[in-house]
Structures are given as C-alpha cells and as structure tokens.
Point group: C2
Chain length 208, copies 2
DNA sequence: TTAACTTAAACAAACGTTTAATTAAAAAAA
DNA sequence: TTTTTTTAATTAAACGTTTGTTTAAGTTAA
C-alpha cells in the first residue's frame, strides 16, 4: 500500500471516528487529506470500499493481540490474565479511533459481509480468553463465572472509557483538548482497575 | 404531546438505532410513520430538533432511575447495590434502542448543548452510585476501589451487551431475529453476573 | 370564521461517483 | 543516451440522486 493511500485511510479514520461514517463526506476526506476528490474513487472504488480497506488495514492490530497471547504458554493463569489486560488496554487505547468506528459503525453497517468478518474476529478473541479462564478453573485457581459476560465486562469497560471520553474527562478534571494526556492517565488506571476486578472476580477463594 | 408526534418519535428512534442519525433520512421516517414528509418540519422544526425532542421524550427514563434509587434509604449497602443493578439493567435493556442511539450518536453529535445535557445526566448517575459505594466504605463493608471505573464497568458491561448483540446471539445460540427472546434471556444473565462481580469486587474481606 | 392540520410540489444544497482532458512517471525503442 | 510509447496519476468539471427544508394550496375541525 502506497504512502498516499495510507494517508487517505488515516484521515478517513479520524473523520469517521469524529463524525461517523454517514456524517463524513468524501469531499471532507479528500479536502483534509489534501488530494483531489476523484482520487478516492480512483484508489478505493467507493466510500464503502474505502471503509473496507480501512478495516483491512487496521484489523492487523486485532490479530496481533491473539498472536501475542498465544506466546508464553508457560505462564500461570493469573499471569496470563494480567498479560491479557495489558495487551488489550494498550492495543485498544492506542487504536481508539478505529475502535470507536467499530463499536459505533458496526451495528448500523449494512453490509452483511463486513459485519460477519468483525463478528468472526470477536468470536476468536472470546475463545482465546475463554481458554485462559477454563485452564485456570481446571487448575483450581479460578472459580466458576459467567464466561461470556466476564469477557463482556473487560471489553465493555475499555469501550466505555473510549466512548464516554467526555464524561471521564470531566470526572477526572482532564483538559478537554488534551487527547494525549487523557490516554496517558487512563491506560494505567484501567489496567489497575481491571486487574483488581478480575483478581476478586476469578479467585476461587472468594466463592460463597 | 399528541399521539401522532409520539408515533413519529418512536419510528425515528427505531430507525436511528438501526441506521444511525445521519444514515436515516427524513423521508424514511415520514414513510415508515405513514405521515407526509412536511409534517416532520411542521411538528419538530428540523431533523436536529426531532432528535432533541426524542432525547427529551426518553430522558425521563434516566431520571426515573435516579428517583427510584433515592427511595428506600434504609437498605443495607449490599441491598442497594443489588437494587441498583436490577434498576439499571431493566431500564436500559427495555430502552435499548434509545440507549444504542445515545452511545453511538453522542460522540459524533455536533451540538454542544445536547452533548452537555447528556454528560450532565451521566454525571448525576455517577454521583448517585458513588454515594452508595462511599456509604458502604464508611460502614466498613466495601473496600477501596477505583470509583470512576467501577461505575464504568457496570455501565460498560450493559452497553457491551446492547451494542454487540450479534456476538452474544452467536455465542449463546439465540436466533438472530428473536429480539424479544434475546432480552428475556439476557436480562437475568446480566443481573446475576454483575451482582456476583460486584460482590467479589467490593467485599472488604477480599482485600489483599 | 378562524385556526390547525395535511398535502404535492418545488427548492437549493450536498451527496457519491464518473467523465474526459492533462500531467507525470515508467518502459521500450532508437 | 536520447527519443518515443505506454502506463499511471491527477485534475476540474459535470453527472444524476438524494438530502433537509419550504412553499402555497388545500382540507378538516373548532
């Protein structure tokens, strides 16, 4: 992929995350990317296909999570949970624009194919986490929990922070325009919270 | 508010939740509501004001949560948490269309006023929950937790289930078209999960 | 008789996409 | 190396739709 194509994709990503897919015009993208309007059709074919190209371009980061998780098979269940949280929080908050697009755009996306592709990735993610938890249960260090919703809680908490940025900027007295500062403060905060949360939630000694 | 106005709002709500604000045309709304195109401008003034009217119409359900929470001051902290979860899960999943619109549309909404209104409601919600947790800590039954993110986890888990419906329908083998059945199964499932989660997370005996 | 409601038609603006002409770059031929 | 040919990149302009909104004439109900 040429530099120019990637540049267009990144401009589109920013605009989609700020104004939504339908709220962003092709002229907007071309203008902010500094290219002629017709170049977008020339390169990508259509606005819909540009979105598909963006998903293709970025979905590497999701695959990256799965691959890194599969290394270090020797870790203990607790260490794996910690690593899982570190990986997800880092990857998602460093790709928060794309993550915003996925959570916002996906439910309204018309193309069945795109929706299936993304659901497929999520299912793979889920099964990976499920494997870790099941192993911890087999080793008698994790207790019985609602598998689907435990994963939902981890993903949901991270999503909540990226989607309700306004709220948390206000609650934590962070300057509204300091995007970088928000993430810098939030990343360790989320990691600590999720680790403490799962430690209590999964610990077999906390059974009742 | 007349029946016809409410009917238009409810049609708009469904379409917005399915296709997004910008993905829904005024002609779409008029057509599905069975009214003339011009009636929407006549009743609401503009598409943007129709959205504002919808928010106004539905935001009663958020206020309702806060009011019901303030009753029964005599309950124990643990009972209040249980009641909190029951209230939120019921209200949000029975208004899931509106909740989808809020989470998806809010980050991209241009009007500062609408965004501020909604953030305001969320802040009130947060402070209400904070009060419950703080009281539990004062009574030495809850431990120290990350206040903002504990609330974020509860909201995020519920949001996750309403936004990633596709995923959970597949994980739980629920028919894709059975909207009613999905909620019927999900509501008690989320309640149980969140109660178990918070029980472990907040319990002062689980400190380490 | 007055006010509220309803309609079909029209409006200008914005939309995604295509066209046809031009320039720049790469490949082939001299 | 220079010249010619071919391919790729870029442009301004225009295309036909669809958009949100308004108009002006009509109907219904108070």
């Amino acid at each position: 992929m040429t530099d120019k194509r990637i540049h267009i994709l990144e401009v589109a990503e920013r605009l989609f995350s700020e104004k939504g897919f339908d709220g962003t015009s092709v002229r907007d993208i071309a203008g902010q990317a500094g290219v002629n309007l017709a170049m977008i059709s020339y390169y990508f074919g259509s606005k819909e296909k540009l979105m598909a190209a963006l998903i293709d371009h970025r979905s590497g980061y999701t695959r990256g999570i799965l691959e890194e998780l599969n290394k270090d098979e020797l870790l203990s269940p607790w260490d794996k949970i910690d690593k899982l949280i570190d990986l997800y929080v880092d990857k998602i908050l460093n790709n928060y624009k794309f993550h915003c697009i996925m959570t916002q755009h996906l439910p309204t996306v018309q193309s069945d194919e795109i929706r299936e592709t993304i659901t497929e990735i999520k299912v793979l993610n889920f099964e990976q986490v499920k494997k870790i938890i099941t192993e911890g249960q087999r080793k008698k260090v994790f207790r019985k929990v609602d598998m689907e919703l435990t994963v939902g809680t981890v993903m949901g908490t991270i999503t909540q922070v990226t989607l309700s940025k306004n709220l948390y900027q206000r609650l934590l007295n962070i300057d509204k325009n300091d995007e970088e500062g928000y993430r810098k403060k939030m990343i360790p905060k989320i990691k600590n919270h999720l680790k403490q949360l799962l430690k209590a939630h999964l610990d077999i000694n906390n059974q009742e």
